[in-house]
């Protein structure tokens, strides 16, 4: 290097010194810890002029006859130059100012101080101040870029110099030198703005070409003292410097030295410099920029924002780590760009002038202007605050809180349980440096990343363990680091850096392991479900591209969600992921949108809440800690001006309501729609839980259904009022059958006949559907139940055989047995229904008609009349298409003419049945039990008893029975009596009209009369049972025809299944 280093000379006493040139470059001005400012004509000047400015002078700057010094009484003073008269105080700090500097025009002064602030002050008017916050350590040195483009901060913890754009405070680039690993102490811009000189602690002097990011000059201090002051000669050719020993030195020919090496590239790089910076600015501007930071690691976001926005946010936090990270990330970009630019531009460069006006119109160059890839978000533990914090929450979930302390005195972990009944609080010393924690009812799982010597470890404190060793530890193979972990019920999962998920039992047994398609983002466990989110690709323009897997680990092992994309808001990243207390996966993104998995709509994600809407100010956030579906609660911690809460003061949990972003929620309609679908969505977990074999709160479920149906009814009424009849029908489609009947009543009452008619059709359809489903179910479970019953019956039969003292013959016993079997076969599916239905139904219809057996009977009844007569396979007959009310009256007529019609009504049912093998079991059952009673009247009492008891026990089960019972209201009885007279009066009346007319007339009756009718209706139920047995007598002849084939009958007339069971026996 042709640069010449002049010998050092004594300047000041030992201590911090600073140096600068005057405007013309004639004299060198220094200051030192002796409080003097000395003005040297040249390096050889033996009699410098001294001005005492204070006890100690830390820094000096000179421009336009003003000498600015930073002195030890925490002020920045102005003196006139060269006279040295005090000219007032420019600004003050709470502690020493470290460095002062002018901008090119001399109008502004930048001052960096030990209280982490940088102030930019107008020289002429010291009230015009701008304070820059955001640096996390004493600012040791500041410099203006001569083009006013950058303000430069030398981060004292690193061997690099970082450039920030002064206007946006975005980090633009980093200068570093491979050979210099010493901490940079001071930086100065060359007057041309092209070079940057830096002095290091170890006495190295470095000069960079800023655009090329090349270190063009390296010089060593002759004694290796710390360089603490540097200044460029205004012509740019010389640098003076001072050290902490008070010596003054000079580097000559710097610019000329560096010019040849870089002049060829100067112009081109200079020209593109503006462009480049623009690009960067664009790139990291505003949203993009924020996204980028936050995306890179959730932890760093708030601090970064403080920097980016350059506002005086008071939430300053240590930002050292992030600035560095950021820098390295940017560096890559820069170097790439530079490399691609240079070859293009070199031929054009003529090397004429190295110094160009700083702003040159941007030369067009081929740049990639498509979507930019987003840095993938880093793995995190949901419910934890950033790792770099000294005091942080390592986990906050529904079980408890885990806090991590990592400061000078202590490296510890505190585990605290919300419910002290689970376990008492724990204090662990964190010798391994765990960074990841999960907490469940059973255990605490901790993991640390590996270091050079130590492998990554997983530690589990299994406090619910009943043996004495409550702790286990597992080393992960070398080169593999734990990235995320979670606990489920009886298992633990750890995702590692080698894209692997390892499963452990909670006691420490290694279980399955599998590979992930991408780097893990986070994991969550609940019961037997494991939820994994990973990067499935590169996101662009601030978006993340995440995939999600949901795996069922228990008995039914399966992958429920197979790596589908996880929807997030635009330009956001995942902030929280987990399960609701009821076990539904749920995620929260950085935009505050909470999404919940909708299992009934093909595992889609439905946004249920936007926490940002409840925030008062833009910088406030809610930190989600848990989601509950019943009651509907979003538990989160409000954070003022940050994304996550500090550990102290202890934050309090707030509860937010859910609100689905439906349209027009200001209107009544929108509100009810939102309520309805929210209710549906948040009660999906009942289906899931019952299908995976958990107990469910059936009371809560039925209540939820009631609520939903009520809402539907309200919406129905509203649409009715608005005369939107089509909409009414649409709504009715969502209703359960018995609510539809309510709706019909409402419609007919509000005189909407067309609507009522439509609804009638709908109701029929629904009933048919219901019935078909029922039949399907009947067929399926029959197998199991019969098989089960056959054993049971066997035992029963034997016991009964012994009890039959009269010694009935084998045949009889056989017959009785088969009858019972039939009955059982018929009975059992019905009994089973309540437990089977919930998921069967749930899977089929989104609105989940009530699975309660009581409801279904009511629903099914009016239509059973017709269907009971048909064989199960037959399509809907005529009687099915009649409307509800018709069928109701039909059935109601029957009990009225009870004894008389019973034969007729039954006969057509029975006749086709008897020869047919595949008849409805229920019909045969009735017939056979009846015949049996009649033929064996003289037999032992015990036997008749059992038979009697049997039908008595099954009334709610037997469809016909219930069907008969239901319509027997007083009104119907009355109507049957009076139908003729009504029809006589109005011969052209339809069935509906008859009923309506009948209703009107019935109402005119006195209360006493009405009571009479209802009494009558009640009394009707008992004779019916009797009738059944007597009816058997009348059927006797019929019976006798078949008596020959008695033995064969069980095989013929009963369902195949019971025959099967019989054979088995």
């Amino acid at each position: 290097m042709p640069c010449e280093r002049k010998p050092m000379r004594y300047g000041h006493s030992e201590g911090l010194t600073d140096v600068c040139f005057d405007d013309e470059g004639k004299s060198i001005v220094t200051c030192g810890s002796d409080g003097d400012v000395r003005i040297w004509e040249s390096l050889d000047d033996d009699d410098p002029k001294s001005i005492n400015v204070g006890e100690k002078a830390f820094s000096v700057a000179l421009r336009n006859g003003k000498l600015i010094t930073a002195v030890s009484n925490n002020t920045v003073q102005i003196h006139t130059f060269p006279e040295g008269d005090p000219d007032g105080i420019l600004t003050r700090f709470t502690t020493n100012a470290n460095h002062v500097t002018f901008n090119t025009s001399g109008s502004k002064v930048a001052v960096g101080s030990s209280d982490f602030l940088v102030k930019i002050v107008e020289v002429t008017d010291s009230s015009q101040q701008k304070t820059l916050r955001g640096h996390e350590a004493p600012v040791l040195s500041v410099a203006f870029d001569p083009s006013d483009e950058f303000l430069l901060l030398a981060i004292p913890v690193d061997a690099t110099v970082q450039l920030y754009d002064r206007n946006t405070w975005t980090h633009v680039s980093t200068l570093s030198d491979d050979l210099s690993t010493q901490v940079v102490n001071v930086v100065v811009w060359s007057p041309c703005g092209k070079f940057l000189a830096a002095g290091t602690v170890g006495g190295n002097l470095l000069i960079w070409d800023v655009e090329a990011k090349l270190c063009v000059e390296r010089q060593k201090h002759e004694k290796g003292f710390t360089v603490c002051g540097m200044a460029w000669h205004p012509s740019g050719g010389r640098i003076t410097y001072t050290d902490t020993e008070g010596c003054l030195g000079l580097l000559d020919g710097v610019s000329s030295a560096s010019a040849p090496t870089s002049s060829s590239t100067t112009q081109s790089t200079k020209a593109t410099a503006a462009k480049e910076t623009n690009d960067y600015d664009d790139l990291f501007d505003e949203d993009d920029d924020r996204m980028m930071d936050e995306g890179m690691s959730d932890s760093r976001s708030p601090v970064k924002k403080a920097l980016v926005e350059e506002d005086d946010d008071d939430d300053l936090m240590p930002a050292t780590g992030r600035a560095r990270n950021r820098a390295s990330f940017l560096d890559d970009d820069n170097s790439q760009d530079a490399a691609s630019v240079k070859p293009d531009k070199l031929p054009e460069a003529d090397g004429s002038s190295a110094i160009l006006p700083p702003v040159v119109p941007a030369v067009s160059r081929p740049v990639y202007e498509g979507p930019m890839p987003t840095p993938p978000q880093r793995a995190f533990q949901p419910g934890s605050t950033p790792v770099h914090l000294m005091h942080r929450f390592m986990m906050w979930n529904s079980i408890g809180i885990v806090r991590g302390y990592n400061d000078d005195q202590d490296n510890a972990i505190d585990v605290e349980f919300h419910d002290t009944a689970i376990h008492h609080a724990m204090h662990l010393t964190n010798t391994l440096g765990h960074t990841m924690v999960d907490l469940s009812q059973e255990a605490v799982l901790l993991a640390c990343e590996g270091t050079d010597e130590l492998a990554s470890k997983i530690q589990c404190l299994h406090f619910s363990c009943w043996d004495t060793l409550k702790e286990w530890m597992v080393d992960i193979p070398k080169g593999e680091d734990a990235r995320a972990l979670c606990l489920g019920q009886g298992w633990a999962a750890v995702a590692t850096s080698t894209l692997m998920v390892r499963l452990f039992s909670i006691g420490g047994v290694q279980r399955e392991m599998f590979s992930l398609p991408g780097a893990v983002v986070c994991m969550a466990g609940h019961g037997e479900q494991l939820l994994i989110v990973y990067h499935r690709g590169t996101g662009f323009d601030g978006d993340q591209s995440l995939g999600v897997q949901l795996i069922q680990l228990g008995r039914k092992r399966k992958q429920v969600i197979q790596g589908e994309a996880l929807p997030l808001s635009r330009k956001s990243y995942l902030a929280w992921m987990g399960f609701t207390a009821e076990g539904t996966p749920c995620c929260v993104d950085s935009e505050g949108v909470v999404r919940i998995l909708n299992r009934t709509l093909g595992n889609t994600w439905t946004p249920v809440c936007n926490t940002r809407e409840s925030c008062k100010s833009k910088s406030d956030h809610y930190w989600v800690v848990g989601v509950h579906e019943n009651p509907q609660q979003l538990r989160c911690i409000p954070c003022k001006g940050s994304r996550f809460p500090p550990t102290l003061p202890r934050p309090a949990v707030a509860v937010l309501p859910f609100k689905l972003p439906y349209c027009q929620t200001t209107t009544e309609k929108g509100q009810m729609e939102e309520q309805y679908w929210r209710s549906v969505l948040f009660h999906n977990h009942y289906d899931f839980l019952s299908s995976s074999g958990y107990e469910i709160d059936s009371e809560g479920q039925s209540q939820a259904q009631k609520e939903q149906q009520e809402l539907l009814m309200k919406m129905f009424a509203l649409s009715c009022k608005l005369e939107r009849e089509f909409r009414c029908v649409e709504l009715a489609e969502l209703m359960t059958h018995n609510v539809v009947t309510l709706a019909i009543r409402y419609a007919s009452r509000s005189r909407r006949m067309a609507l009522a008619q439509k609804l009638n059709e709908l109701a029929l359809e629904k009933a048919n559907q219901l019935h078909e489903e029922e039949e399907q179910e009947e067929e399926e479970p029959a197998y199991q139940s019969v098989a089960r019953n056959s054993q049971f019956n066997h035992v029963r039969r034997e016991s009964r055989g012994s009890s039959q003292m009269n010694g009935c013959d084998d045949e009889d016993v056989e017959e009785e047995y088969t009858q019972e079997e039939e009955r059982d076969a018929e009975e059992s599916p019905e009994i089973k229904k309540p437990c089977l239905n919930p998921f069967k139904k749930g899977a089929k219809s989104p609105e989940r008609p009530s699975p309660k057996p009581v409801n279904r009977e009511v629903c099914a009844n009016p239509f059973k009349v017709s269907s009971a007569g048909k064989s199960s396979g037959s399509p809907a007959g005529q009687s099915r298409t009649t409307n509800v009310l018709d069928s109701m009256t039909m059935s109601s007529r029957k009990p009225a003419a009870l004894s008389g019609t019973s034969k007729q009504s039954k006969a057509p049912v029975l006749k086709p049945l008897a020869p047919k093998a595949k008849s409805k079991t229920q019909a045969t059952l009735l017939q056979m039990s009846a015949t049996k009673v009649s033929s064996k009247k003289q037999e032992s009492q015990s036997e008749t008893d059992t038979v009697k008891r049997a039908p008595a026990a099954t009334p709610p089960v037997s469809a016909e029975n219930t069907e008969n019972r239901k319509p027997k209201t007083g009104f119907q009885l009355w109507l049957d009596e009076n139908r003729k007279s009504i029809l006589g009066d109005n011969p052209d009346f339809e069935e509906m009209d008859v009923i309506k007319e009948g209703m009107g007339r019935f109402r005119t009756l006195t209360a006493g009369e009405r009571l009479e009718w209802s009494e009558k209706a009640k009394s009707e139920s008992d004779p019916k049972k009797r009738k059944r047995e007597h009816g058997g007598e009348e059927d006797e002849q019929m019976k006798s025809d078949e008596s020959g084939g008695k033995k064969k009958k069980p095989l013929d007339s009963s369902a195949k299944l019971s025959a099967f069971a019989f054979n088995k026996e």
Partner: protein, 182 residues
Amino acid sequence: MDAAEVEFLAEKEIVEIIPNFSLDKIYLIGGDLGPFNPGLPVEVPVWLALNLKQRHKCRIIPPEWMDTEKLEEIREQERKLDTFTPIPSPYYMELTKLLLNHAADNIPKADDIRTLVKDIWDTRMAKLRLSADSFISQQEAHAQLDNLTLMEINTTRSFLLNSLNYMYKLRKNLQPTRTHDY
């Protein structure tokens, strides 16, 4: 009415606690409380909060006004104005005392709060004495004092009423003598 009674009344004020146990709703004459979910804030009367706190069953979340910044503001306001300023809670003194005595560990800057509330209290008492003094010296028939809390009224009531009675007696005795003079 003595101070203990006022304190008793203050105990039915509502505060938020974070229980560390789980319990269904409890049905009391005064209303239903709960349900208590561990870790989730729930509103209960002070008497229950203190009881639970003493049994280490909960953490108390201090009322919103129990915050140094807000109290400082009130103190400044109180010092600036001659009249009584509105106080965030009608039982501020009692609640401060109760909560700080029993749950100081749950209240950030408990000592500062104690001092601030004491300051506010002292200022208000001084004002009260001053107004009582001017009330008597000017022999007013009535005075309007807004924004006084129960406890404050209570401290001065017995004394003021008694002394007014005495003064009334004295004046009555004084007047006949004067008339005698005439």
